[in-house]
Symmetry: C2
Subunit: 323 residues, 2 copies
């Protein structure tokens, strides 16, 4: 696999915390520039826009797009039409319609389009999918709960239209569930709890049914205090599977099959940082593979489930949120 | 084209008003039975369920599904797996996820799956599409306004989660716009006006941008009094196109190119009834063609745009609605 040169577009928190180290740690990738109207990264050639970066770096092979979602369609289109490979941070767009248009565009362009869902790279996910493929699903429970004040301090965009609220982490749960469960599943009922001063839910309870009528319950909550819970439990005809730690630990009938990385220390923040770091390493390994193979991979199922929840859910007004 | 035998599933208002006469008027179709847990139609063999109908009528070629949206996935699946052709009244499902699953299922089944969008059959739509294909779009304005008390008396499901409110007619506008405009378009901003006692909007203002950055404004309103307005206006580099009367009248630079059918009388209700009747005749002609050709046609773009509006729109609370 020959080395890919990559430019980072949008140099915010996720680009610095995850994309930068994941690219630098991958021997098949070379980070050559960054584009952002304001922010720069020390030691990295900087451009004010994607357009400027493409003009200045004609040999660039790929871009990773980490900008706010409403900017991504135009940027991804520009890069694809310039013949570049494109990785899109999750979610792949602000709307399903623009993601569908990008998928069509990518079919006519030489580059790879990759919609990155980091939780799909969690350590236990591939083994869970394989194990579940052979089983009959009886019941699924998804719990995805974290303290928004700890995990998203000052991220007021979460509460604006399009910010998705608790579905910003919840879409990670849906990206795991849609990948590991052997049958498609559909929303039957949903309650979205929306703070009186916000546009998006702080909590959501979702009831799905899979194509074989197995019930799937999901409980997303931003008001969790203490440790995070990122867990999927599946009861089958041949035992019980649990994915915990965002998919990084896999247990079958309470026996640990895959264990989450523990990081440099034993404290919770260090463990979680190590887990997410490995997920992004997995994303870039996958991106390099897809680019080498000349294939695109755009899984729209997680964003489609979120749109279904907004389309079909009942809204209840709850206490105003003071960040 | 050999004659197709059809069963109607869900014998509510739309089945009686539109499907029944459209099937009966088409010489290539034979209506052989109806299925509904409660309602029957005089002179038509009746079954309590789709299952019972399939068991009693093994020679049935096709079913048309007009039940409430949350029932359609399971019914369409049953019929497709029984080898039948399936027409789905609009919208094709309660959620995008179940429509996506039906599309995949139809690829593995012998029958045709057809998502029916009656406004796409309006008399001026095909000519508008052809004319616009050659033009550069500068600006689009969509107005879709009707009095909910006149057009949807007592339809309280419109205001419940999934009922879509003003998007129930608005999706007809979107089914026309996504078909006739030459470039895909994406929501950029939306305001949904939701009555204080309802879950779904009574009005919506939508601002889209097409892939060439032409602005598209849509204004949906259920609080219209007087005549309905169902109109799409397109300014192009080569003149102005107007589709009025729900797409049934086409004007180019104010010259009438296609005229709406006038019905038996000259009054407005008679004209509108004649128009919608012709649209359903067009749907069944298309269904018969697709079944003969062994092809499916499921246009998800209109429902995807509605889901995007719920996902991305700003909600404003307005005066309670008293039906």
């Amino acid at each position: 696999m020959s080395s890919l040169s990559i430019g980072l577009v949008g140099l915010g928190k996720i680009a610095r915390d995850q994309h930068l180290p994941a690219i630098q740690a991958n021997p098949n990738l070379r980070l050559v520039a960054g584009a952002d109207p304001t922010a720069g990264i020390d030691g990295l050639p900087h451009h004010a826009s994607l357009e400027a970066m493409l003009a200045a770096e004609p040999g660039l092979d790929a871009v990773a797009i980490c900008t706010p979602t409403h900017l991504r369609y135009a940027q991804a289109r520009l890069a694809l039409e310039a013949g570049k490979h494109v990785l899109l941070e999750k979610p792949p767009g602000a709307t399903l319609s623009e993601v569908a248009a990008l998928v069509e565009l990518a079919e006519r362009c030489p580059g790879t389009l990759f919609a990155a869902w980091h939780s799909q790279q969690a350590g236990g996910v591939a083994a869970a999918r394989e194990w579940l493929a052979e089983r009959r699903i009886e019941r699924v429970a998804i719990e995805w709960k974290e303290d928004v004040r700890v995990w998203h301090p000052g991220q007021s965009w979460l509460w604006a239209p399009g910010g998705m609220g608790v579905f910003d982490p919840g879409i990670n749960a849906l990206s795991v569930a849609t990948l590991v469960l052997p049958r498609p599943f559909f929303l039957r009922q949903a309650t979205l709890e929306v703070p009186a001063n916000c546009q998006t839910p702080i909590a959501a309870r979702l009831a799905f049914m899979d194509a074989d009528e197995a019930p799937i319950a999901a409980d997303f909550d931003f008001r969790q205090t203490g440790e995070v819970i990122w867990e999927v439990r599946v009861e089958t005809d041949a035992g019980r599977l649990r994915l915990t730690h965002g998919g990084n630990r896999l247990l079958i009938d309470d026996e640990v099959v895959v264990d989450a990385p523990t990081g440099d220390g034993n404290d919770e923040p260090s463990r979680l940082a190590a887990m997410v770091g490995q997920e992004y390493a997995g994303l870039y390994a996958r991106f390099a593979e897809l680019a080498a193979a000349g294939r695109s991979e755009v899984d729209v199922a997680p964003l489609r489930q979120v749109a279904d929840a907004f389309l079909y859910g009942r809204r209840e007004s709850v206490e105003a949120f003071e960040g």
